[in-house]
């Protein structure tokens, strides 16, 4: 068995193989692999005995279940109203400038993916962003350079 098959089998053993266990299994694969490839979705379908189309349909519904290759660190900048008012664009410019990628792209070294997302629930400390599960609030261009610098040097 290859590593992905192993991973999926372990997740299915841990959570169960019923339909209601599908989301935790999908989340588990995303946690490890950063995204759900067509291959992993087919493997999940086989392991859990669910039609592959159903797995695909479910996975593509959720914005945090990536189905395109993504980097080790996924940066999600909140674009909803308060963050938009408080300077998320400047934040995005700073990130794009630093990583040399556009929104939706991944750096060639597969370390950073930049995305926009809907309300993160930090409107009182806007603008906010997530790097994987970590939250950063009241980020200005200066701070974001500092934060990304740490990630680049892997000191976080």
């Amino acid at each position: 068995m290859n590593p992905i098959q192993d991973l999926i089998k372990n997740l299915a053993d841990q959570y169960g193989r019923n339909r209601e266990n599908l989301l935790p299994v999908l989340q588990g694969v995303v946690k490890q692999e950063k995204y759900l490839s067509e291959y992993s979705m087919i493997e999940i379908a086989r392991e859990m005995d669910i039609p592959a189309a159903e797995v695909y349909g479910t996975a593509t519904f959720y914005s945090f279940l990536e189905t395109r290759p993504a980097g080790k660190y996924i940066i999600r900048v909140c674009k909803t109203i308060t963050c938009a008012m408080k300077g998320k664009n400047q934040l995005l410019f700073a990130i794009q400038d630093m990583l040399k990628i556009k929104i939706g792209e991944t750096t060639p070294d597969k370390r950073f993916t930049l995305m926009e997302t809907n309300c993160l629930g930090w409107c009182h400390k806007a603008p906010a962003m997530l790097i994987n599960d970590e939250v950063y609030t009241e980020v200005n261009p200066e701070r974001v350079r500092e934060i990304l610098g740490k990630y680049m040097k892997e000191t976080i």
Partner: protein, 394 residues
């Protein structure tokens, strides 16, 4: 001033209380009927925004004879401008867990779930620790109730209770037809109580201090207190517990920056109130005797005169277009067309009268969309377009 009372700060929800064990053990010594009556007489309504009477919800579920029932704590807080549930779960998780267990005792449910939005994954670890400690105590007092966290994965619509249950059953978060209501057939077809995080904490207050203490706060039809998430153009953004029934004018005096042009009450799915209507607007559930009464899940966003209302509406519509589950046509196509429509008017490709057509479209969506998302797009759309029409055009 039209309304004479001032804003009343209250401190119930975040009050630091270390006696949850005692509250739990004494509450479950009372009869379920007694507790339901206590809740009904407090007139507590759901704090997620919809405002369904909580006591009635528990009662309906408890009356069912089904062998399996569930309690779900809805922590899929996704409405733009709301961030109170996260604060509750990180500061006073025991109140939520206790209330869930009491709900289980009252309704006969043995299992409870916290549906936590993916954006709040960082809370999971701490919350699991609290759950472990809580379960240990449940065993000690022989209370058979288990709580688990179910993680969401970034979908606003999953805050709608039936979409939430679809999601927990491993499917796309597409809302179901109602009826049957969750109290009859919810998670896995079993009767289910779905309560907002804040609602559960209010039940704790009611069980600990009695219904009267809660009922004495607020105004008729809108009893008790509410957590408000204040953001936007304000010198003091944050979370505040206030009595229901305040006038928006008083609210703006307290939280405005002196240049407040409009306030969005209830997030993107709520209403935008322009300055000229501050005085006539009260914050509470429907049924207030005078003036307009606006319910809110807690989101209060202030905009000052430097903000373009076109940009605000554009931002909301983009949000709805992305978060619409796509299941029913009025919402899926409606959200897209509204967004394209206002842009076309702004660019001069469509005449100003086209806005009237779009308003009709929101009416259709209100009547025909399957769930609250599609139905409530009309709220913000019509209140912005009607009050700031010139900003949509020029």
């Amino acid at each position: 001033m039209a309304y004479s009372y001032q804003l009343k700060r209250v401190d119930f929800i975040f009050r630091n209380e270390n006696d949850w064990e005692k509250v739990l053990s004494t509450t479950i010594k009372k009869k379920p009927d007694e507790l339901i009556n206590e809740l009904i007489s407090s007139e507590l309504k759901g704090r997620g925004g919809a405002g369904f009477p909580t006591g009635l919800k528990w009662k309906l579920t408890s009356e069912s004879k089904a062998p399996t029932k569930y309690v779900i704590c809805n922590a899929d807080e996704g409405e733009p401008g709301t961030f109170k549930d996260r604060e509750i779960l990180s500061k006073v998780p025991y109140k939520v867990l206790t209330a869930m267990a009491v709900c289980g005792y009252v309704t006969g449910a043995k299992e409870g779930f916290i549906y936590l939005r993916g954006e709040y994954k960082f809370l999971e670890e701490e919350l699991n620790k609290a759950i472990d400690e809580f379960q240990y105590y449940c065993k000690e007092i022989n209370l058979d109730f288990r709580i688990k966290i179910f993680m969401g994965s970034g979908a606003y619509i999953c805050g709608e209770e039936t979409a939430l249950m679809e999601s927990m059953e491993g499917r796309r978060g597409e809302p179901r037809n109602k009826p049957p209501f969750p109290t009859q057939a919810g998670l896995m077809g079993a009767p289910t109580v779905v309560n907002n995080v804040e609602t559960l904490v209010h039940t704790w207050t009611i069980f600990k201090y009695g219904a009267k203490k809660f009922y004495d706060l607020g105004v008729q039809y809108s009893r008790g207190t509410k957590l408000f998430s204040v953001s936007g153009d304000t010198p003091k953004p944050g979370i505040y517990e206030l009595e229901l029934g305040m006038s928006l004018q008083d609210f703006v005096y307290e939280f405005g920056d002196g240049d407040t042009k409009a306030v969005q009450v209830g997030g993107a799915s709520g209403f935008l109130v322009p300055r000229k209507k501050f005085r006539d607007t009260a914050i509470g559930y429907e049924g207030k005797l005078v003036g307009i009464s606006l319910p809110t899940g807690g989101s209060m966003m202030l905009f000052n005169s430097s903000r373009s209302m076109f940009n605000v509406l554009d931002n909301y519509l983009e949000f709805f277009r992305e978060e619409s589950c796509g299941q029913c046509t009025p919402c899926r196509v409606g959200c897209q067309q509204l967004l394209l429509g206002i842009k076309a008017v702004k660019r001069g490709e469509k005449p100003a009268s086209y806005l009237n057509k779009l308003l009709k479209l929101t009416e259709t969506m209100q009547l025909t969309a399957k769930c609250g998302l599609g139905q409530s797009v009309a709220n913000s759309f019509s209140s912005i377009v009607e009050n700031f029409r010139e900003e949509m055009i020029y």
